[in-house]
Symmetry: C2
Subunit: 356 residues, 2 copies
């Protein structure tokens, strides 16, 4: 792979690895009789969406109504909006429902009522369950509230109760496959209990660590992972994947070199300010070597600080002879979100959505 | 101020406060006989640039060659690129030099040679000085290297040595005006020493905390602050400004309410992942009340976690009756960078640059 020195950081996409990740997850879903509705918030690209479509995917998940509109414009017509419904979304949803089967996260009977009175087409109601993570959703043991919503779906003809969604972000604190499993076990138990109580419901789960390593999906009917399409340095450290599975990098020109420090053009507006702590060392990205299609990390070189344009890598720089470094991002969703296109390792430009 | 519920987070700009900040810094520069070259990396907007122009500003600072090209397209013709020059920038600089007086950060004689052989117009050479912050620049006491560059400017006719630039990000660790002063004192001393050695050079300093609170600018000839145009919650905590000076907010719809927790639609892709620690509490933004043109913070309400779309505010929510919250961002540069427009408190849309 040869990079043109363009005088700015670039987002680099390995199409082969990306398609390998897509196909691996599709196979896994199929082998486990799971419905696959991949989350498109990571790549936010119509072009990459087409790769999923060509591989047989028909339904997707997004994280906002705006993002749903973007993908609906390319013909996607079965979209789960994996963020709590609120009434400000109504006018956008009224446009979307004309072409899209909407699957919405609903937390109260008032919301069922607002949606039923505003929309003109049937919509699917998904109850987000909070397994104790304390983000959004209804607490797993609040059966009164869950029953209320399910009963309301019987009352309003447009509202079709579909099932339960769980995203337990605590799997992101894992540092091994064993860790992921120990985080996910109680979540699977919560879903099993719900399945026992509401046998015709779908159980939906989305986090990439669980979807990547689970062999037995138990009560789960639908998976909605997103990050696996690129993976990232956080997922490598969580235990979800190997470095060789990562498909997204930031190409950062070297701006200045010191004895044990490099200034990269690749600050927070290119990588995002997300970080992880590894053995007590905070890091904002991992420098890698991408030779002969093999990905290897630079040992003893840490990106330990970012400002708007600068990334500072400290450590052993004796091996670095080139004019730029490839950085494996900490969190590919946030890194990709900062760019308006991907440049593939074979030189193709792939457009993506930007926030408007 | 009334907000239309648009079903998505919006960046809100208080034009009155923003212009007050601009005029205050212009007056301060003028009263202290300082050249004012404001940094436009914070607002990244041609429209806001015009506000500076109307107030008499003629020269600006930016953080990348791309950003220089953006502002050059609107007629700005005196631009300091406050990031180390590297050779990948040459082709973009060749376009820029046709209309713009370029002030470049140069760290070696090789770079002077590359620039002189590639460009066709005179350019100004600024030596970035590292006062011990250990980001970019030449260490303040490396006089051999500094002399080398200054002598090279005599050799190459296009290269005009202008002076020294210092950005000491350690002022960002301050928590009071006194703290800022104690951080900045050694930096002023470094500049004074350089001024004594090179009396005809300009001393240039840029950080918003110092420019906001200094009464005596000593050896400084040019100031280049950027963040002051909006300020933010970090600057309030540093001691650079009052909450009432902040001009930028994120309007975040409330998506779900719990007993002592609110889920806001306003995650990392709207606010950025930047955070500060206040009394041991990590926070990603400060909820504020904007009534009768007065800005007051919500006490005991902390945004203590962000994911891609979700912001979680925990604490006392008893006062909250509305359907959305205004969040004072931690770091307005990174928050603004995520959006393609500002909505003013009077309902005007102001376009801005997005990364391409």
């Amino acid at each position: 792979m040869k990079f043109i020195e363009t005088g700015r950081p670039q987002l680099i996409l390995d199409e082969v690895r990306c398609k390998r990740n897509i196909n691996r997850m599709i196979s896994k879903a199929s082998q486990n009789n799971l419905i696959f509705r991949p989350h498109f918030k990571t790549h936010q690209s119509l072009e990459i969406g087409k790769w999923f479509k060509e591989a047989g995917v028909e339904a997707i998940t997004v994280s906002s109504v705006d993002m749903a509109s973007y993908f609906a414009s390319d013909g996607w017509n079965d979209i789960t909006i994996a963020f709590p419904f609120y009434s400000g979304q109504i006018s956008a949803l009224k446009k979307l429902e004309q072409t899209v089967k909407l699957r919405l996260f609903v937390n109260s009977i008032d919301q069922i009522s607002i949606l039923s009175e505003s929309l003109h087409n049937p919509f699917h109601v998904i109850i987000e369950i909070d397994p104790g993570y304390e983000r959004s959703g209804i607490t797993y043991n609040n059966l009164d509230k869950i029953n209320e919503i399910i009963f309301a779906c019987d009352t309003y003809s447009l509202a079709n109760f579909e099932g339960f969604y769980i995203h337990d972000g605590r799997t992101y604190q894992s540092r091994s496959k064993k860790d992921i499993l120990s985080h996910i076990k109680p979540v699977l138990k919560v879903l099993k209990n719900l399945k026992d109580l509401y046998p015709s419901s779908h159980c939906i789960m989305g986090d990439t660590p669980s979807c990547s390593i689970l062999e037995n999906f138990d009560s789960i009917d639908v998976i909605t992972p997103g990050n696996f399409v690129f993976y990232d340095w956080m997922q490598v450290n969580i235990g979800s994947c190997n470095l060789d599975d990562v498909a997204l990098f930031c190409h950062t020109p070297i701006a200045q070199t010191f004895e044990n420090r490099i200034i990269l053009h690749g600050g927070a507006v290119y990588l995002s300010k997300d970080s992880i702590s590894i053995n007590g060392q905070i890091t904002f990205g991992q420098a890698i070597k991408y030779d002969n299609n093999e990905i290897v990390k630079f040992d003893d070189l840490f990106i330990n600080s970012l400002s708007q344009e600068h990334a500072i890598a400290v450590g052993n720089i004796s091996e670095i002879e080139q004019m730029s470094l490839l950085i494996c991002p900490i969190h590919s969703c946030l890194t990709a979100n900062l760019h308006s296109y991907y440049l593939t390792t074979t030189g193709k430009l792939i457009e993506k959505r930007i926030l408007s």
